[in-house]
Structures are given as structure tokens and as C-alpha cells.
């Protein structure tokens, strides 16, 4: 691959699959998935449903999922609402401020693909995956709190399958976009790109 050799951690992605390493990976992933702290990035109407999901009826904290104000303290960015062109550079910057490993959940039709504003919205970003890579798409306008919880549970499943100590493979099922040089730190879905 082109470019300098990327920096790898001391034990990260170094080991062949084996019983101990796989169990260690599962333990690490289990602890990470049960404590996802999300950066509350409420942009529009979906933010109200995200707040409702965090409130007492559809509690997210029982899954360990907690809102944080700052991207530096968050694992997950829930993009809840319409991304506009003016906001796009800020979304990218906030994504870059998050520390690895980080995930993105695109909540609502507007963040998925522009939503109801896709046709005549000259200032609407047609999907937040034009600027950042997205892990989970939750459809709805706005998605019900149960739908958002389902998306978060799917994200937990995804995190459980992550390869922390084990080496990444080239042909891991349909995640063929993953590469060995570590440029894709978390296997990304083969989407628009």
C-alpha cells in the first residue's frame, strides 16, 4: 500500500487467531460494547427523539449508553438530524476530534440520505456519509426511540465482532473494504464509496 507504515499499537492486531486471543478479544469487546458513551450531536427533530430515548421511558443508560457533551470523551457520535452544508465541515471536525475506536450512527432519514429535503434542499447535505464514515443507519423520520435502541443494539453486536488483538483479514465476509495496513481501523460497510 502507498504511504508510510502506519503506527500500530504494541499488541493491537498482532496475533493470529487462537483460543486465548479470541477469548481476550471477546472480553475486551464485551466491556466496550456495554459502555458506549455517545456524543450528543442533536441537530434537528431527531434530537428530541434522542433525548426521549435517553429519558426515563426508553432508558439508554440501562445498556451503559450515556450522553457526553464533548467529542473527546465519546465513543459514538449519533448524528441526529439534518446535516447542512454549513454544518458539514464542523461534523467532520468533530468526528476527527473523537478518539479511536469511534463509531458513527446516522439517525433519521436526513442523516442517512438527505431525508425529505433531498430534492429541493439546496443547503442540505444528502446524507452525512458524504463527510464521515457511518456504521449504523437508523431509518425513520424521526425514528421511534425503540428504533434508535435497536440501532444501538446492532452497534453492540458489531462491536462484539471487532478484532482488537487478532489480525484483520482481507476477506472477512462482506466487509471486503477492510485493509491490512490499518487504514480502515474498523471495518466499514461497503457503501457509497
Amino acid at each position: 500500500m502507498s504511504g508510510p507504515e502506519p503506527v500500530r499499537g504494541l499488541i493491537q492486531n498482532r496475533f493470529e487467531d487462537g483460543l486465548i486471543v479470541t477469548s481476550a478479544d471477546q472480553l475486551i469487546n464485551w466491556s466496550r460494547k456495554n459502555s458506549i458513551w455517545f456524543m450528543q450531536f442533536g441537530l434537528a427533530c431527531c434530537a428530541i427523539e434522542m433525548m426521549a430515548t435517553g429519558a426515563s421511558r426508553y432508558d439508554t443508560e440501562r445498556f451503559g449508553i450515556m450522553p457526553r457533551g464533548s467529542p473527546r470523551q465519546a465513543d459514538l457520535m449519533i448524528v441526529a438530524g439534518t446535516a447542512t452544508l454549513k454544518m458539514a465541515t464542523r461534523i467532520k471536525r468533530l468526528y476527527e476530534q473523537m478518539a479511536e475506536p469511534k463509531y458513527v450512527l446516522s439517525m433519521g432519514s436526513c442523516a442517512n440520505n438527505g431525508g425529505p429535503y433531498w430534492r429541493y434542499g439546496y443547503h442540505v447535505l444528502k446524507g452525512v456519509d458524504e463527510v464521515i464514515p457511518v456504521d449504523i443507519y437508523v431509518p425513520g423520520c424521526p425514528p421511534r426511540p425503540e428504533a434508535l435502541l435497536y440501532g444501538l443494539l446492532k452497534l453492540q453486536e458489531k462491536i462484539q465482532e471487532d478484532r482488537v488483538l487478532r489480525k484483520r483479514g482481507l476477506t472477512v465476509g462482506s466487509l471486503a473494504g477492510a485493509t491490512l495496513d490499518g487504514s480502515a481501523d474498523m471495518p466499514r460497510p461497503a457503501g457509497k464509496r
Partner: protein
């Protein structure tokens, strides 16, 4: 005071600078000459019989197909003392439209005029802060004009509507991964 009386008061004070009016019940308005709007507005606010101390709304409308083609700025006014409403209009040419600012009369006009500049390109002469308010500062063009065309890109981001996921899927593209495709070995199978 009803609309006819307000109009009469304006005509009595300003004469020919009130160039037109329409006083039917739905939405009465008077058309004011562009250079006189600041004086007329000040009079409307200060005169004790009119006392139109509140600018409810400032709208810009683009009429390219009327004769003559013009842009209009409509000021909807309200009086908290007398509880009556009235509207003033100015008619501007579509090329380089310009009208004096009213931010000295009603403070809220500041932001409304910035929005009219942003979306229509109407310049408010004498405005203290004439810059875009809703769109980014480096945006080109004024989108709510009737002859606006979406550009292809803005700083590398698509502006024109992109084919939606359904259309792309029908065209054969793989959209994302399937919902249960995270583990190659044990694929979840959805119960029917």
C-alpha cells in the same frame, strides 16, 4: 383605525410618494416609493394615530414574470397600542435591487434584512452588518430567486439531489452491508 383610514393618513402626509394601494379585506397594503420608505416607516412608528410600533414580518418576493419584472419587499406592521395592522410594499428592479434600511426604526429589521440579502440579493443601503445570515459566507448566489439553479458542488459536497438509496439499489449497487452480516461464520437468519 382600519386600512382605509391608515392609507388616507399616509397619503395626506406623503402624497405622491405612496404610489399605489390595495385595500381589500384580506391583506391591505400601500406601495411606497423606494427612496421614501425610511421616512414613511418612521412616520408610521411615531405618529400617535398610527403608532405602528412593531414590524411583524419583512418578506421579499420575486416576480420575474410580472410586467414589469420586479422584486418586492413587503413590511407587515402592527400596533400594540391600537391593535391594527397594515402593510407597506416597495417595488424594486430585479437587477441590483436596493432599498434603504429600516433597522433604525424597528430593531428586528436588522436580521430580516440580512435574510433578504442572503436569499434574494436585495441590498439594504445603510445597514450596519450586511452579510449572510443563513447560508455560509462563501456561498455564491441567492437561492430563493426564481431563476436559481442548484450548482453541482459546494466545496466538494453534492448540492444537486443525488439518486436516492432505492434508485441506486435498483441499479445494482450494493448499499451498505446487509443488516445481519457482521460475522461471516454465524450469519443471523431473520425469522420470517
Amino acid at each position: 383605525m382600519d386600512a382605509a383610514a391608515i392609507h388616507a393618513a399616509l397619503v395626506q402626509r406623503f402624497g405622491e410618494r405612496i404610489t399605489g394601494a390595495s385595500l381589500d379585506a384580506g391583506s391591505p397594503f400601500a406601495i411606497v416609493a423606494t427612496d421614501a420608505i425610511a421616512e414613511v416607516a418612521a412616520f408610521c412608528k411615531v405618529d400617535p394615530a398610527l403608532a405602528l410600533d412593531n414590524l411583524m414580518c419583512l418578506s421579499a418576493v420575486d416576480y420575474p414574470k410580472e410586467t414589469p419584472p420586479r422584486m418586492e419587499v413587503v413590511y407587515h406592521l402592527f400596533s400594540y397600542r391600537h391593535l391594527h395592522t397594515f402593510a407597506l410594499k416597495v417595488q424594486l428592479p430585479r437587477e441590483s435591487p436596493a432599498v434603504p434600511t429600516l433597522e433604525g426604526v424597528w430593531g428586528v429589521a436588522n436580521w430580516h434584512e440580512r435574510e433578504a440579502w442572503d436569499l434574494f440579493g436585495i441590498l439594504f443601503t445603510g445597514h450596519s452588518d450586511m452579510r449572510r445570515i443563513l447560508l455560509p459566507d462563501d456561498w455564491e448566489g441567492h437561492p430563493l430567486r426564481k431563476d436559481w439553479q442548484d450548482p453541482e458542488y459546494y466545496n466538494g459536497l453534492h448540492v444537486k439531489p443525488t439518486p436516492q438509496m432505492m434508485e441506486r439499489a435498483l441499479a445494482g449497487e450494493t448499499i451498505g452491508v446487509g443488516p445481519f452480516d457482521f460475522t461471516p461464520e454465524n450469519k443471523h437468519v431473520e425469522e420470517p
